[in-house]
């Protein structure tokens, strides 16, 4: 028996029967991906669970519900919880209030219609928000939280992934009914209409629940135009395509691309840049001011953040390549929003650099290529590794790639503009320094070279096939250098992904198309003083045809 949507259906009929239809508003919204909204106390006390109502048994045969398990164990034993998910009316009301507070002309009106508290005085509102239930019963499913910052930027140990249960399974969208009601005798049809417009605007703009700035909780309303951004905020929209070895979600065998992959990508790049112009603590604080945090590593404070990221799925989505070794294709839209001055001068320049030196998600430091993987039994087999990311944006002159030309002056000038913007915005924090034991992107802490790539692009992206399945032919000279035994599987340079404790590589390589074929952009993060990395820098600069694009050179290391 599923009675979740029944209240809204019956209440609408009652309003009609009593000639009060104008005081009742409802519509079907589509939850695009997953939502973490409201909270249900999990028996293990720690695991975060979206709002849900019991609908089945916690089966002892699947393990005691109060036991704390890692994500992999939960995937085997409790990929779903016996809870039907819903969106509490309190969450929708909260989103509408937060939206209205950003708009001075609406804020006071919102207090009149939705009520307010002024110290001990509470003024009642006139509009009621009902729980939004999915049309079909929808159990909460396992999700994963896996912060990567210490591993990816500081080259410290990998964090332990945590379980999270959300409304939505990461694949199917969910249709749910959102409704509000004006209290008869206390409000008018016009006022209900006014608030309903706020509901549509707020939900469409922000989504619902927590983690909305990371792509959770996005909802869409049919036949509703794009909502207006917050005052002083701008939106930058990209079309993206990503061809990659695939990223894992809660199930390591189910490859997916999640909004949080893109969010983590942007966040880590902001930190890499800020570490180049600020002391570590200030860089961390600044990142959390931009991207938000529950508890900043610098000062333990939580911060709301101001940069929002939304990802819209397109076609193809997770489509498998036509030939072996398999890779996957994702295309869609990426929307970044932030205060206009921050977006244009602080965020977007970093995106331009980031998209030129790597991809997104698992394998982001390597171009999509084939390599021979050694199996446990000693045999070797071909595998796809790496990513190929492109961003395009629409200009008056047409759709153009978003990035940087492979010429040193463009890289130098854009970095200088970015650095000046940071200095003007945070003058007291501005303190360029070098030699941090971390991945720091600055002229003093990294080296970027353009080197010859494979003769031809090895991937036919249109037909999702490898054109040339000779592994070596998928690599350029930068990749060849990384695969040189001197650097391969060396934690100080090439990294080591598969043997016991994983180590990130200190080098990222991206393949770019050029008129005569392809090139590779190799970015070496120098980190602390390190002889192997210095040796790699020397070898990189010596590659025939290498062009220095940015940062340190062998004659002028850190």
């Amino acid at each position: 028996m599923y009675s979740g949507p029944q209240l809204v259906e019956l209440l609408e009929r009652q309003h009609q029967a009593r000639q009060q239809s104008g005081l009742f508003k409802k519509d079907t919204f589509t939850l695009q991906w997953r939502a973490k909204v409201g909270s249900f106390p999990h028996p293990d006390i720690e695991t975060i669970v979206s709002a849900g109502e019991p609908c089945g048994a916690w089966r002892p045969s699947d393990g005691r519900p109060e036991d704390k398990r890692n994500v992999g164990e939960n995937w085997k034993q409790m990929p779903k919880l016996p809870l039907n998910g819903y969106i509490p009316g309190s969450c929708i009301r909260g989103v509408v209030r937060a939206w209205a507070k950003q708009r001075p002309k609406i804020k006071l009106r919102m207090y009149q219609l939705l009520g307010y508290q002024d110290n001990d005085t509470i003024s009642a509102g006139k509009i009621e928000f009902l729980d939004a239930w999915p049309e079909q019963p929808t159990k909460l499913t396992l999700d994963i939280v896996n912060p990567q910052e210490p591993f990816q930027v500081y080259h410290e140990g990998q964090s332990t992934p945590l379980s999270l249960y959300t409304l939505g399974n990461g694949k199917d969208s969910i249709r749910l009914t959102v409704a509000i009601r004006g209290i008869p005798g206390r409000t008018t049809e016009a006022e209900v209409e006014e608030v309903w417009d706020w509901v549509q605007q707020a939900l469409s703009l922000y989504g619902v629940g927590s983690r909305t700035a990371s792509g959770y909780g996005g909802v869409k309303l049919d036949n509703f135009d794009q909502p207006a951004p917050d005052p002083d905020y701008s939106v930058k929209q990209f079309d993206f395509s990503l061809y990659s070895q695939g990223c894992a979600g809660p199930d390591i065998k189910t490859l997916e691309l999640r909004p949080s992959h893109c969010r983590g990508w942007l966040r880590s790049w902001m930190l890499r840049f800020l570490l180049g112009v600020m002391l570590k603590e200030n860089a961390q604080i600044t990142v959390t001011e931009l991207m938000g945090t529950l508890e900043s590593p610098a000062d333990n404070k939580s911060r709301k953040g101001s940069v929002r990221l939304q990802m819209t799925q397109g076609e193809p989505w997770g489509e498998l390549s036509q030939n072996q070794p398999n890779f996957y294709a994702w295309e869609g839209q990426l929307r970044l929003s932030a205060r206009s001055d921050i977006l244009n001068s602080i965020i977007l320049p970093v995106v331009r650099f980031a998209v030129m030196v790597g991809g997104v998600g698992r394998g982001w430091r390597r171009p999509l290529h084939i390599y021979w993987m050694e199996k446990r039994n000693g045999e070797q087999e071909e595998a796809s590794r790496g990513t190929y990311l492109t961003l395009t944006h629409e200009l008056k002159s047409g759709v153009k790639p978003f990035g940087l030309p492979p010429q040193a002056e463009n890289w130098r000038d854009l970095y200088q503009e970015w650095q000046t913007a940071v200095q003007q915005r945070w003058p007291s924090r501005f303190a360029p320094e070098a030699g941090l034991k971390a991945e720091v992107f600055s002229p003093r802490t990294c080296a970027v070279y353009l080197v010859p790539g494979p003769e031809a692009e090895p991937v036919d992206r249109k037909n999702l096939t490898w054109k040339d399945i000779d592994a070596v032919e998928t690599r350029g000279l930068g990749m060849d250098l990384i695969y040189n035994p001197t650097y391969k599987r060396q934690p100080d340079v090439g990294g080591n992904a598969g043997r016991g404790n994983a180590y990130c590589s200190w080098v990222s390589v991206r393949r770019i198309p050029v008129k005569e074929g392809t090139k590779e952009i190799v970015c070496l993060f120098m980190g602390d003083e390190n002889s192997l990395r210095s040796q790699f820098l020397g070898d990189l600069a010596k590659i025939s045809g290498a062009v220095h694009l940015f940062g340190v050179q062998p004659s002028n290391p850190i």
Binding site: M1, Y2, S3, Q6, L7, L10, L11, Q14, R18, Q19, G38, S39, F40, P41, A51, E53, P54, C55, G56, A57, W58, R59, P60, S61, R64, P65, P82, P88, G89, S90, R93, G94, A98, K101, L114, G115, A124, G125, I127, E128, F129, L130, D131, I183, P184, G185, G292, L294, K301, S302, R303, K304, G305
Partner: protein, 325 residues
């Protein structure tokens, strides 16, 4: 009191009637003193019904004054009520975290001896004793987490004793009624008390800090608390009836308007602004009471009932309070 009836509520949203519990940041709900079971006080039900009657046009406010008594005005004047309501008590509470013999998921309602007995008295059903072990409409082994509940079969006379009076509301006559008819368990009171302590509906809520001048930083949780509610899909019963004025009785129109509300959806308890408290109501007996005003003097009744002496009002409120608690 000669007019004595029974009504039912089916919760379509969690019900939160605020209580006085002091459990840190847990927002407790009202509980009966003698059983500790959650309930919706009669005063709360009555206030909701009054608001609902008043909201329906035409003449909503006037009808509400006639039915419930005019509210205290600045001159200290109050009206006399002509309809009364008792507490809405639990009857059947949903228990969903269950399976049958470790197999299929089961949605079932549970109740207990004392609630069944008290309801039977009001509903004029033949009260029968229940054994000190669980009995239900679908006997078998039920699993709740790692606890096992062995439910025995209900005898025909006990099945009669757990019936509802009158007919279900048509809005619930589909999946809800048929599921209810097949899935009920009667527990001893002590077992039911444990459930009412630990198995109510809860929701963790927080208020997000939206400025830097609060207790925390913007974006952090300014306040955390846990709401406790009577869950959705709970069936409650209440007593009600008429106490008509000898001199200015209400009319058939009033009765029909009240029935429209009692057999409709209305909201009980707090947190209405976030969708809490909605119930589908129905009554076992919808016959008009004897002594209603004749159609010819209905208009007079509606107008003249508005003002009563303060002395009469005070004594009436006292009577109602006695009935309601």
């Amino acid at each position: 009191m000669t007019d004595f009836r029974i009504g039912y509520l089916y919760s379509l949203a969690p019900i939160h009637c605020g209580g006085e519990g002091d459990l840190g940041n847990i927002l407790e709900i009202a509980r009966e003193v003698h059983t500790d079971f959650p309930y919706a006080p009669g005063s709360s039900v009555r206030g909701s019904l009054r608001d609902e009657v008043a909201s329906i046009q035409p003449d909503g406010r006037q009808m509400a004054d006639n039915l419930f008594g005019k509210e205290l005005d600045r001159e200290g004047q109050m009206g006399v009520h002509q309809v009364w309501f008792g507490d809405a008590r639990l009857l059947w509470v949903p228990m969903r975290t269950m399976s049958m013999s470790g197999g299929r998921d089961v949605f079932t309602w549970v109740s207990c001896h004392s609630l069944i007995r008290d309801h039977a008295l009001l509903a004029k059903l033949k009260a029968v004793p229940f054994p000190d072990y669980p009995v239900g409409t679908s006997p078998g082994n039920y699993m709740v987490a790692d606890a096992q509940l062995e439910v025995k079969n209900l005898s025909p006379e006990r099945r009669n004793a757990i019936a509802l009076a009158g007919n279900w509301h048509p809005n619930l006559a589909g999946a809800v009624q048929s599921t209810w008819e097949a899935n009920r368990i009667v527990l001893p009171d002590a077992d039911f008390q444990v459930l009412m302590e630990h198995s109510l509906w809860t929701q963790v809520r927080n208020k997000i800090q939206d400025a830097e001048n609060g207790a925390g930083q913007a974006g952090s949780a300014e306040v955390f608390w846990t709401d406790v509610c009577i869950p959705r899909d709970t069936i409650l019963y209440y007593s009600w009836g008429y106490s008509l004025s000898q001199t200015n009785p209400i009319s058939l129109n009033h009765h029909n308007r009240l029935l429209d509300v009692l057999k409709g959806l209305f909201q009980v308890g707090g947190q209405a602004n976030v969708g809490r408290g909605w119930v589908q109501g129905w009554v076992a007996d919808d016959q008009p009471p004897t002594g209603l005003a004749s159609p010819t003097n209905q208009t007079n009744t509606a107008v003249s009932e508005g003002v009563q002496s303060s002395e009469e009002s005070a004594s009436t409120e006292q009577t109602e309070a006695t009935v309601g608690v």
